[in-house]
Symmetry: C2
Subunit: 304 residues, 2 copies
């Protein structure tokens, strides 16, 4: 491979507007590495870690409008506790089962920090990309935003010295539940033939819109009141506007952000049980990316 | 998933006689995690690391008798030096190109230790498994054994204080060359319809034979003189029998160990440019696993 080809490849590696997964023939492939320090707060069970790590890769498959076929995981830890490993494999298998994929195992590796690398595969006849949004399309998000922000608040609360043990246990249980999201394969399939562009919201809504805008060459006009803020985040965040702000920028939520032509929206919503909420519209690039008429900054979660 | 299914899955995760890759329909999938401390000795270039890490997964695809389709890598390091990253991507791309696969990028992650997780996939109409060897079959290995053992000797020599700088540079260059193996996709395809069982030799010949023996329910009678010891290892190892012993147990070589019916061997050898060397034969399980008539112990490389 010559320098230019290598640079182009590297560009794709580093390019924040690259798609969520690579496409080889009709096969969609994506890989992620997560590790304890940045991705699994103290109190995350290994079951949740297995579910969430494999789910993150399945979410990228969903963002491509693909069926999920299978996933593998490489599990690295300082020691292999059979119960922890079993819990991890169960979480990984259960999230696969929820979206009709098969968990087909992986690799074990000794490592100082608990680290998981996951790869998921899918098939797409008609893959969805980040480019393709056109002025006039409706911007939608699946499910709710802010689950992970709410989970983080609960993990932190559980870790505080002044939290009574019983309350800490409840907080951890709920945080783990919130951390185990269902990858939006079903919604992705409903959007595949109908949306013009899509990606997942793992970097936060604000950053996702900037990435879609860059890939599609468009702007967005978002209505903050329309953003489906998760009830748990609303309940856990005090102060006016706080929950909405966190739901917009926090990220790590693995919902889909998609642009859909106005006349295809009803069909898309009818084709999936997953709530598909319109939050604004695609505008010309010179109109920028705005929320309630003000500039929406490109900030959000930066993956560690 | 119930406990029994989870345990069966976990068994597959941990089972040393599990196959080199998982098979989902006609898709062959395999994942590996490598890291600096155990897999990349000081002096390993990032080009070599990219080649070798992706090559290790492609070797598992080869062991299944599959065509190689594509590979991805998650690259984790404390910082992202563009030159190092570019070199890594080039190595990863070049090894893919050598076997007709496509390198389709991956993920970047901040991590204290340089760590790489690779996933390769391929297609197999008629996958080869570790089970299937029958008494009377010929045991063959591709290429030569001992390349990685020789490379390690050279990496160590380069790191010694008394080694003159020019000699250290030459040692490192040669060590890196030896570390960059060609995954045996071509030989795997030649063996696919002809061999009865196969796996790669990454845990060393001795351990591979024990794993094949366990999966197939057979023994082996190996002739040590027939083992194709790599010239570099012969040259670098002093002391009688030393090179042969290291070639048998050291591992990390990524050759294929296959069992082929006597009447299919000539065809298999004619179907690939890769040398396919007979080193012994498959025997009944009660005859055990022997080399020159003595028990061949189950020892070799244990992946860190």
């Amino acid at each position: 491979m010559d320098e230019r080809a290598a640079l182009a490849l590297l560009d794709r590696e580093l390019d924040p507007v690259g798609d969520d997964a690579a496409v080889v023939d009709d096969l969609v492939v994506t890989t992620d590495m997560l590790h304890e320090r940045t991705d699994f707060p103290p109190g995350t069970t290994r079951y949740t870690a297995g579910w969430r790590a494999v789910g993150a890769s399945l979410s990228d498959v969903a963002a491509m409008g693909a069926e999920a076929t299978a996933a593998v995981a490489a599990y690295a830890a300082p020691e292999f506790d059979p119960e922890e490993l079993l819990a991890f494999v169960r979480g990984a298998s259960d999230v696969c089962e929820r979206v009709g994929a098969e968990y087909v195992g992986g690799d074990l590796d000794g490592h100082e920090e608990f680290t998981v690398a996951t790869t998921a595969f899918g098939r797409a006849r008609d893959p969805l990309f980040r480019s393709g949004a056109r002025a006039g399309d409706i911007v939608c998000v699946t499910g709710t935003l802010g689950r992970s922000a709410a989970a983080l608040t609960l993990f932190e609360r559980a870790a505080e010295d002044e939290t009574p043990p019983a309350e800490a246990d409840r907080a951890l249980e709920r945080a783990n539940e919130l951390f185990r999201f269902v990858p939006r394969i079903d919604a992705g399939l409903a959007l595949a033939s109908r949306a013009t562009a899509a990606m997942d919201s793992s970097d936060g809504l604000a950053r996702s819109l900037h990435q879609l805008g860059e890939a599609s060459g468009c702007g967005f006009a978002i209505d903050s009141e329309a953003i489906p803020v998760d009830d748990a985040l609303d309940e856990l965040t005090t102060g006016e506007g706080g929950a909405r702000e966190r739901a917009t920028t926090f990220g790590e939520d693995f919902e889909l952000v998609a642009t859909v032509p106005d006349d295809a929206l009803a069909d898309a919503r009818a084709a999936t049980d997953v709530p598909l909420t319109p939050i604004g519209s695609v505008v010309d690039p010179e109109d920028g990316i705005t929320i309630d008429g003000r500039d929406l900054e490109d900030r959000g979660y930066t993956h560690g």
